[in-house]
Symmetry: C2
Subunit: 451 residues, 2 copies
């Protein structure tokens, strides 16, 4: 019996932190902690709560600009946040098991710097680092990096693909046993196990080697979020986890099947890539309490913030349209130089349920295009289980509406229910994030080709 239970497929869970919560009005909620959102204590508490819940990893999104759409972004939303990379390494000191994931963009960084920073965090945390690879699509970010315009979609993905390739080779540039540290013979390292990349590509020329030895995990776990055609192809080639956003079971199943089907041509197994849709859980001890919690959040959204958020999600300015009427005619998706999948998702939701702009922003203000699940702990677990067992997800990225209370609710109420069903671990059994996710340690590029 115990053996059988052990072998049952279990879901992977990420704790996705937006401070002070995923809902755009979270900071106004009485249970969110906003008094000192840049002090370490809040983050320590969140990380330790997620670890108490046995989450596979915690995750911070990121961006490189202040967004002030219609002048209300600064006034009415949270636009300051710590850089997630130094934050992760600080959190590595106060946690022991949980994986540590940060977003970093390939559009305005250098492969050498990111390879080294994630390798450092992987060493300091003894194998718990993950990199959520994104491209930067906002004009506001371009203008902070001496560019006039942001890169066009296909170029961003082309650059991202080369960037990831270079980073992986940098991680491999010191083979696992390169350090000898033999004081007597004065051999610190074996030079035959240390490699130059001599990479010369379209976007980067990087000689290498990196100046830190191979990460504990070989490579920190590679995560991606893009769900466009180029995003899916890049993920099938390079990602080990996909954070994605779907509203309906059918859409999620199609995506799951599509991406898993692309793995074979890159010589990869279906298990080598975990698909984890984001979910925004509104948890009540009763259904009524859950509905009231949701309604409370909706009422906290300032109108201009709602319209601005919706405009940002679809990369199209809605501020001059009547807020109590349906979406206007939108441009063709091919003319959207932003997150194309997000555009389609939000547009489909509006069309399908014939929602006004106000109704639509109220619907997406928390989950921002991700799936909202609402109800009692049993109902929440049911909704996760349905997708997990019907070919739509390997796990979920949990997006608490407000923090820390929304995370505590999930850990104290939903996780025990998932554990009772045998769907989630009771204890950590491995040491590294790869262990938690069931991902293999990658072989070394330089070793494979017998350099």
């Amino acid at each position: 019996m115990i053996e059988l239970t052990k072998q049952k497929r279990q879901m992977n869970l990420g704790a996705f932190f937006m401070i002070p919560g995923h809902h755009v009005a979270a900071w106004r909620h009485p249970e969110s902690q906003t008094d000192d959102i840049l002090s370490f204590e809040l983050y320590r508490q969140l990380a330790q709560t997620a670890e108490r819940g046995k989450f596979d990893m915690l995750f911070f999104a990121d961006g490189y600009a202040v967004h002030d759409r219609d002048g209300v972004g600064i006034e009415q939303t949270v636009n300051v946040r710590p850089d997630p990379l130094p934050l992760l390494s600080a959190l590595s000191v106060v946690t022991k098991h949980i994986g540590l994931t940060a977003t970093a963009s390939t559009t305005y960084n250098e492969p050498f710097h990111l390879a080294r920073k994630f390798a450092t965090i992987d060493h300091l945390s003894r194998g718990r680092a993950a990199w959520n690879v994104v491209t930067s699509s906002s004009e506001a970010e371009a203008l902070n990096f001496s560019k006039d315009h942001h890169l066009e979609h296909s170029k961003r993905y082309e650059r991202a693909e080369e960037f990831v390739e270079v980073v992986k080779k940098l991680w491999d540039s010191w083979e696992d046993h390169a350090l000898l540290i033999d004081r007597e013979s004065a051999r610190f390292a074996d030079p035959t196990l240390v490699h130059q990349l001599n990479h010369k590509g379209k976007w980067f020329s990087v000689k290498g080697p990196l100046n830190i030895s191979r990460p504990v995990q070989g490579h920190p776990v590679i995560i991606q979020a893009g769900s466009s055609e180029s995003g899916k192809e890049l993920a099938a080639k390079t990602a080990e986890v996909i954070f994605t956003a779907w509203q309906t079971l059918g859409e999620a199943q199609n995506f799951y099947k599509d991406v898993k089907g692309r793995l074979k041509k890159y010589g990869r197994s279906a298990e080598s890539l975990k698909i984890m849709p984001g979910v925004f859980p509104v948890i009540g001890r009763t259904e009524k309490e859950a509905n009231e919690k949701k309604q409370h959040l909706v009422e906290l959204i300032p109108e201009k913030v709602g319209v601005g958020l919706l405009s940002a999600l679809i990369s199209y300015d809605l501020s001059n349209f009547p807020v109590d009427e349906p979406l206007p005619n939108l441009p063709d998706i091919k003319d959207i130089n932003g997150a194309k999948t997000r555009f389609q998702l939000v547009k489909d939701l509006g069309d399908r349920e014939n929602l006004t702009i106000r109704q639509l922003y109220q619907r997406v203000a928390g989950a921002r295009g991700h799936r909202e699940i609402k109800g009692t702990p049993i109902q929440i677990a049911d909704q996760l289980q349905e997708w997990f067992e019907h070919g739509a997800a390997d796990g979920f990225n949990i997006m608490p509406p407000y923090l820390p209370a929304g995370l505590e609710d999930f850990v104290d109420l939903v996780i025990p229910e998932l554990q009772n069903r045998g769907l989630f671990r009771e204890e950590y059994t491995g040491q590294t994030l790869r262990d938690h996710l069931g991902l293999q340690r990658p072989s070394n590029h330089f070793n494979q080709i017998n350099v």
Copy 2:
């Protein structure tokens, strides 16, 4: 009496960590810890020891390449190290008072990223961050960042000056009281206290604002090391601490007077810039023990490593010259596209004492051009006091030969002697690094000009 003691001028001390020690053969020394130089435990121990010693700050140098001169760099020296920025934030969690300083280059970074990372560390540590501003002068680094050649000396400094200016404005872009966090009126921040830079310079265009609020210290402390003409001018304009390298009292006094004299034209007082030469202390309980310690280290230097190190220090390859003869004729200093002051310093030392290449590398292998002080704790304290009281230094950057033992010796043997003389604090009296150093919190650029 107590009042008088309190008012006595006291020195500032930095703990400068090269792992596992400043001496090039430190890793071969039986008392250095090299078994796991990428695990956090070593750094935790060092930081806590330095804090026990009441150091103003700890400091990590950095670089962006593996140096493998003559093929012995990888084999016989330590070429792997954590990225100091994530390391500092991890150390902020296990310390309470000590300042946290990292080197980061203006040559291969973006102002937005560095401003944000140092601001993050300053917030997480509640006001203890400092940035050692350097330019990158090695070809090996250029080749890791898609460049064919490294930037020429004057261009590096021009870029550095603009870089620091942009970073400071980014730190100022959220004024101190910009965050309101008023849930009731839905006002998170006051937009009139948040500023765009709209910077358009020769090297950078940065719109801003930064996406993190003003650091606890206003600006993290700005440190510089360059001692060339452009380095001194940049320091007089922008630095609050100078890490510098001098062998003799006279040289150090000239430099001290020169740089302090340049402050007035930038509207700065002499106290607004602290000059802290590096010193490499070899401490014995007796003079004989100190001499033996030094001799032991010298004997551990592999010949090729010694020649390679000397070559790197003067940016000139000495590998084809006889090692037991004096330096050959060297190029004119104006043709050296490296650290010009270091070149002159090492050349002068060789000429002054008529040293062979071997003798010279043995002399500089630890201190790398910095001052070596050797002897009993009383003799070490005498040597520090002499410079401190004779217009050569406001304090010192202590460079232990090997770690952690070399640091422990300084903390346990030398610091009490300095404290007995009233030359160094017995307890921390302030909260931030600026408090320790006696530096003012900077006013806000945007506020000054009444934007």
